[in-house]
Symmetry: C4
């Protein structure tokens, strides 16, 4: 992951995941409010979406693991190479992928086997993010100050996401909690881009001074802007879905009249 695309790619994935989770939460909330128009909110559809989500997650995990292992000088499933560990950081990333894969498996299982407790997915989600925080916490030994700082922020965001998912596991059906968690996921996505820009400036720009404390001061502010951006994205998403839902509500009766007519 030691280049710009290596940070931009997970950034894109987390941003899409955040968008998707916020959309799902808002849809469920809106559907529960207006039961009449809720062909979208039918239990069966949401269940199928969960399975799809799980399959996508598992698929991406498999691609990620295979890619990390065999492409571009990966460890090829060997852990030790001549009495020293081989490519430890790759194994770190692989582990994070694996736990997100477990989340996908939990998604599929919970939607197909009815005897499983439904909050299992929330628990596995909390788990995946907390494991990510744990690994990133032990990831940056011996690096420069600024490098450590941007990864510490990542640990903070992962930890908060995991904590919020755990609270969802305990307190069900709180739409704001779900949106808060989604906003943290969005934040993590855009922060990955920020890390890429700071550590590996694309386009041959001048590198950041990794030892200048003013840069930390600035990134503190910058992090808040990313957070505000995540809020704005979720607010816009909410407004958009509510508007569409109102339009559908107006159109629907006439459609139904056509059908029954």
């Amino acid at each position: 992951m030691g280049d710009f695309p290596g940070h931009a790619l997970p950034g894109v994935f987390f941003f899409i995941a955040g968008l998707w989770w916020s959309t799902k939460s808002i849809l469920k909330y809106v559907c529960k409010k207006h039961k009449r128009t809720c062909y979208l909110g039918s239990q069966a559809l949401f269940q199928r979406l969960e399975i799809l989500e799980g399959i996508v997650l598992v698929g991406m995990t498999l691609i990620g693991i295979i890619g990390l292992q065999f492409i571009a000088g990966g460890p090829h499933l060997t852990i030790k190479k001549e009495s020293s560990w081989s490519r430890l950081l790759r194994w770190h990333h692989l582990n994070m992928y694996f736990f997100f894969g477990l989340l996908g498996v939990a998604n599929i299982l919970c939607s197909t086997i009815s005897s499983l407790p439904v909050s299992l997915t929330k628990l596995m989600m909390s788990n995946a993010f907390l494991v990510e925080a744990f690994i990133f916490y032990n990831h940056t030994h011996g690096r420069e100050m600024l490098d450590v700082f941007v990864h510490q922020i990542l640990v903070l965001v992962s930890f908060l996401t995991g904590l919020m998912a755990f609270m969802e596991f305990l307190i069900r059906k709180n739409v704001l909690l779900e949106l808060l968690r989604s906003s943290f996921v969005l934040l993590q996505g855009s922060w990955f881009w920020q890390i890429g820009f700071v550590l590996f400036p694309p386009g041959g720009g001048p590198a950041w001074n990794l030892l200048d404390h003013d840069n930390i001061m600035f990134l503190t502010v910058c992090f808040c802007w990313h957070y505000a951006l995540a809020y704005i994205v979720i607010g816009a998403n909410y407004a958009f879905i509510t508007c569409v839902e109102l339009k559908i509500q107006k159109v629907l009766p006439s459609l139904q009249t056509h059908k029954t007519g």
Copy 2:
């Protein structure tokens, strides 16, 4: 903010905010207990107060941001100046203002759009204080010991305020939790004054020795006095509102008799 008025001004604002929030909580609590006399407690009035609160918050945020940007050598919206960051601490303060502005926006939205979850304001309040704590935590690099200590106390108070607001978001209608949060806001207000007196003694008094550990010992005690003061203010407020309410309860029947008579 590097002078006495720069710390006294936010101190006054937080003190007024704390007073106002405690008054609102007590009024709601008293009104719920004595439903009969509650012309004050009518849902509509409280809603209008919320909108007013939101407008005041947004207005103050705008004034603050414009002031910080363009008055007295502000950065004039530029982030970089000759390859180094320009006036980073101003940008720090500006960010805090911004998140309090978001709280104002949430106040207005929640009172006008009925489909929004009502606890959104609590979440945004928690957010604003936690962001403040995060920024102050990264605010004092390279300063003297005492300077760092008084700001760490500020971080503690902000964090506790944010935590209490988050608990209010989860546990609704607990008047003591609201008063506790208000007392922390009052405490923050009076502590800003204390910081002003310590770092920039007004009236040309002798400066504090920023490296003497005895001063930290004393400020620990001092902080507790501020906390006790916040309690006394809220207790007096509670007694005052309850007394007024009792007076009104006695006068009201005769008034109503007049009207109907």
Copy 3:
């Protein structure tokens, strides 16, 4: 407080307080189970006990504050003496007493004024212990390793007590939570004695080596024994009260027959 009696005295007070609080919790629990025999559990009696508890707390606080101020070279209400702070550690202790005094005031107010929320006492108790933890945390600058360690343990116990009291404030009528908090208070009481024995060995015994890390290792074990002791005390108390209650239950019917006969 810099001598053996200065640590033994608060130890005794905390131990008595822990015993009393555990007795109160167990009595309430047993009375609720066997409603018939509960002349002890009458609401009025418990209310009077609360008022008495409050008066005792306020009285002890006043005695403590006056004693600390005017006896044995106290600061006599002066904070500054010749440009340096006078007797700061005394002011630290005085502050802790003050917040326990506030708990007493809350006890009295909640039992006499019915419009106050009943959980105010729990909040003030949580407060008193958390303030104690905060002050002890800033209390031991520049002391020897072992001295700092025993006070850190005190901070831990105070913090846990405050946290448990705060959880009682949120979750009412959980007898085990109350007993857990009482056990922490007992633990704090006996730990004060331990501090006295470590720092000021009575009877002219040899002083402990404050720089030997083995002593920390031993005190870790020792702390667990104190904790086990607190459990045994509370268990014995529970067994004793349950036995007495069973005896009363057997004797009571015959007494009542006498009366009615």
Copy 4:
């Protein structure tokens, strides 16, 4: 405990405990779902199992304590030996055993005395693990970096187990919370084995370099694999019990027909 068997033994115990607790939780959950076939789930049987569990715990504690005291150069109940503490680390382990013994006592008492609150066992379990975390936290002074790291991980796992048990104490009948706690216990068991392999390589293998930071990086990954293993064990256990239960459900009616026929 300073050898390989000294770490393998507690590892086996914790692994068995984790397996047993997860089995119990799953059995209770499955029995509650299918009330008809639940001869296993009869309240009386579970109560007898609790008593058995308690007796086994108390027995193992006694054996452990006596073993530590009198076998292989134990302290023979003496704390001091010639003005220095004798075998402090043994006393550390002894203390941990003692609190697990208390858990056993609580198990027995709660199952035999009906007036005791049922969640006492959860509280004592939380207690035992938190005390273990506290002791291990103060256990590794002056050791090498890797030695400290593997014990810190142990502190983390113990703390999380204690926290989960405390949450179970507050939130009853959440099967996933119970399984999460069981998975942490399993994790602790397998991690003890890992510690044994790292610090005392059996079979005369080459010792790990205790000062190489790469080893910490690798053990971070390794810890996650242990965690994944714990998940897989619990998942397999769940699948196995559900399958057996389904088989029994099919066989049972015919058996009952035989009996009644």
